[in-house]
Symmetry: C2
Subunit: 349 residues, 2 copies
Amino acid sequence: MQRSPEATRFLLVAGTTETARRAGISAAGADPDLLSTTPAADAELLTYGRPVRTDTVPVSPSGCPTPALVTRAVRELLDVDLTVVDGGLAEPTGAPTVSVGAGVGRDIGEQDPVPTAYGAFEAARQYGRALPTNELWLAETVPGGTTTALGVLRALGEDAMVSSSLPENPLERKEQAVSEGLEASSLQPGDAAGEPKRAVRRMGDPVLATLSGLTTGAVETDTAVTLAGGTQQLAVAALVRHGGYEGRLGLATTSYVADDDSADLRASARALDLDLVVTDPGFDASDHVAMERFVAGEAKEGVGMGGALAMADRAGIPMADVRERLAAVYDELLGEQAAETPTADGESR
Amino acid sequence: MQRSPEATRFLLVAGTTETARRAGISAAGADPDLLSTTPAADAELLTYGRPVRTDTVPVSPSGCPTPALVTRAVRELLDVDLTVVDGGLAEPTGAPTVSVGAGVGRDIGEQDPVPTAYGAFEAARQYGRALPTNELWLAETVPGGTTTALGVLRALGEDAMVSSSLPENPLERKEQAVSEGLEASSLQPGDAAGEPKRAVRRMGDPVLATLSGLTTGAVETDTAVTLAGGTQQLAVAALVRHGGYEGRLGLATTSYVADDDSADLRASARALDLDLVVTDPGFDASDHVAMERFVAGEAKEGVGMGGALAMADRAGIPMADVRERLAAVYDELLGEQAAETPTADGESR
């Protein structure tokens, strides 16, 4: 196994927002009841390669595995220091976590959905300042997170659009949720421009609060930060820009998000002056079940998938190796489960 | 850097007992107020190589550095998966931790010093069962822990003696504390034989409860366990034996503990049927300030030092390399601090 430079650290912020309970806005779990478990499970998959306290590997209703498996596959090829930060977990996780005081996020339609936002931002900022790291890659797992990302972008007055874990982006539902949230918070779009903590507290989720705090603290001590993810990380970048930071900031995402016409990520990244890296894992070259749902446009990103792919690419690891490892990780974790899935004619395959 | 087998994991259980506030029983901090910070700092040192939320590197009143620096030095030579478990921390740590519900331990002289013992034991047991690991090395950091270890051994009716982080083992003070504890708990020596959870709840500390739970769970799923440490780990072994486990169990410690005449570790390890590995780091071959207090008999063990040395030795890493790395770690963290220490004639050196 290759080893990445010691001064590189991959940080996963795992948390929840009850916004995910709204029908039809997230594919990050087989059913709504499991959505709140997904971040805890993702943290365990990244840390140990399998569930420890949770008991299922998150899959979408149609069987797309969590992108945590992709990031884990890369981690098995490229040894990199990993830390999980509790960004408001709802279920216990067996993964070790750093606490910044983030609590579960409530629904975006409530008046104060993230009461822990200010405290989590500041604790994360202190932690980001203190981390002895030259280079930080920040990832997220929060079902429903693109809706709260949209809420934050609107509160800040940014016109970027967000992508989706579903093949068809339910933008109307998201806009509806954001409208409710703005009304409940007595905000007009743009009212929180220049006030990132207010924006994330009123319209965001605890993961966005934690990520923007981490980024703000890290850049204060000249740590290079790459936001690993899709349009949720655009919202983090917007929060950090509205906090006054004008220096370098990276965004590493997958080709699935970058090619999503419902959200013009490239234009938004330019508007926020981000160094964008897009990596295509080439899943269409495989016919393995682990990859086919990604090719069909599901998931697209999450759990730092785009960042992990970029790190692998930078280290010279061929995407074919990543795909091979992903297939092995999937088969070990979900092979039996998949074998029990009935086919169209009702037989197990 | 070498990489240890992936199926090997080093687990540090970090926690506290207010027993450490008793005068003259622990050297695991420069003054009594700092003792409760030591485990949080040790966890950060092992994880990041430097303090993150804590702001000092623990040293004894006479300047002996925490053995965490030795374990960290080994970790910089031999990459091994590390997880920190919160065994009742009193101060926030920036290290990621797994929670098992352990709270701060109260003074051994109280009637119920570890009310979280049963819950922590069971949660740790479940976690130990679920960990995907072939081989587990378990370490501890808990100032005052040899006194509570003695309490547990007496409650179980084991006649093993305990060592000390001080050059002169304050055995009378420890026996006095244990007598108070037995009386407060209405126990005679041996009354809790065969009842390990009762013994650790009434006379132990939350780290002992967590370690014995982890060990019990791990061996249930045929994970090989090595207890990394000195006489506190003897108490863990006794708890596990009294819980009915008769299979293999390892104990890896330093020559400083094994050669401590005030506690006959070798005989006790034989009595508990433990596979004992003793490693001498050869600190007497160095005149570096990082090592001289160890040679003088301070600290002796802790934070898995003996286990880390054994892992290094097994991997073929020469002790000279460990010493060299330890000196470098010390100089980076404590070099300036040491340079400000006044010498006998009042001048800085």
